[in-house]
Amino acid sequence: MEHITLLLAIVIVTALVFDFTNGFHDTANAMATTISTGAMKPKAAVAMSAVLNLVGAFLSVEVAKTISSGLVQEDGIQPEVIFAALVGAILWNLLTWLVGLPSSSSHALMGGLIGATIASIGVSGVNGGVVVTKVLIPALAAPLVAGIAAFLAARLTYKLGRNVGEKSSEKGYRAGQIASAGLVSLAHGTNDAQKTMGIITLALVAGGALAPGSNPPVWVIVSAGLAIALGTYLGGWRIIRTMGKGLTDLQPQQGFAAQTSAAAVILASSNLGFSLSTTHSCSGAVMGAGLGRKGGVVRWSTATRMFMAWGLTLPAAGLVAAGAEFVARQGDWGIAVVAVFLIGSCAAIWFVSRRQVVDHNNVNEPEEPAAEEPAGVVTTAMAAVTPPPAGAASEEPAVAAVPAQTGPVPESARQAKATV
């Protein structure tokens, strides 16, 4: 652990924070349907998911050797570029959590890397073709694949099981849901905790603390596993509510169909060489299963907001990361400014979230009706961000997409203005 500079230490801590947000952002993927159908109590569900995430982090020895799968040039990548990318990804994760929308943590990280790389060495550092094949196509394909599978499965299980007695059905589907949700959690821990290990290892190599090509040290594996498990346990209740109750209404049969489809898609995609985002697959599966019941409906307004968030993930995280990189490379004070900006924004988002707390007590209650005066908020936001600093500009579209949310923009915009 020698030669760990202050910058390197900051990058490592930031990577663990990202890992943490990744955990609580993605609890919903595994557990939303299990919680909303009542198969497990909310607290027990997230606890189980956290344990399985932790186990998953230790399970596989094949640590991600690249963090961006060829998206950007990683040779000679500077620690501060990784730092800037993480800042963009963390802020996007927190912002989408605040408005309760599921969005892919991997895409946020990829967006952050793209933005930071462009700001660092220019557009030539980004592999445009890979952006389409690894990000855009999978984002379209995942919900379709998982949705169609879940739709057919839900149809079938209603048809075949129409004569099943109440008691056996309740018991059976509960067990089925728990098993498939466990599988999703395990897969998530393996994939996503590894990603953080990859980032930290890459940063250690870049900073000269590790020889190139070495495996991550044990403390990296342990801390990455713990961070994601802790995040999972705290539970992104807002996102769980959206996925479990907001998108559609699920019965145990549908929850089981959705969860099985999600698990099948995730495992198939990661083993057949066409990786699909866990979040996109799970959301698609939930919607497919929602339509699979006679008279089932998908709330398309919520779904549309979610799709918009997916579309914005890459540019938004990228813009924040680019701004962060631009400031961070000015030297030590730049990095300090970005770090303060990150902490300040996280604190601001957390304070805003306390206005309307969503936790394990009210996770299964329907969403509050939309807040008032969306137009006024956007106008205030516009006023607050002129002239727009790089960091704040990207936060704007999120609000445009979700006019119902008040609060975050003026505060974080002011933050950005004060620090950038």
């Binding site: 596989s60 879940a150 089981f256």
Partner: protein, 73 residues
């Protein structure tokens, strides 16, 4: 730019077959157990239904085990 349609197609195919297959098996298992319960309630027993149900659940458990194997390896 080189989109691997074959890989995407196989992901779609495998996911679809696995999901529908597993859910069908599981539902059949539940149906079998339910029959057995109904029979037991009337004092009889439905051995075939129960055996079939257990076979279905065993196959589902095997699929879960295979899933864990895929994650670990």
């Amino acid at each position: 730019m080189n989109i691997d349609w074959a890989a995407l197609g196989s992901v779609f195919g495998v996911s679809l077959v696995a999901t529908v297959g597993l859910v069908t098996l599981f539902t059949l298992g539940i149906t079998g157990l339910s029959k057995q319960e109904a029979a037991a309630a009337q004092g009889g027993s439905a051995v075939l239904a129960r055996t079939g149900a257990y076979a279905c659940f065993a196959l589902c458990a095997a699929a879960v085990a295979y899933g864990i194997y895929l994650i670990v390896v």
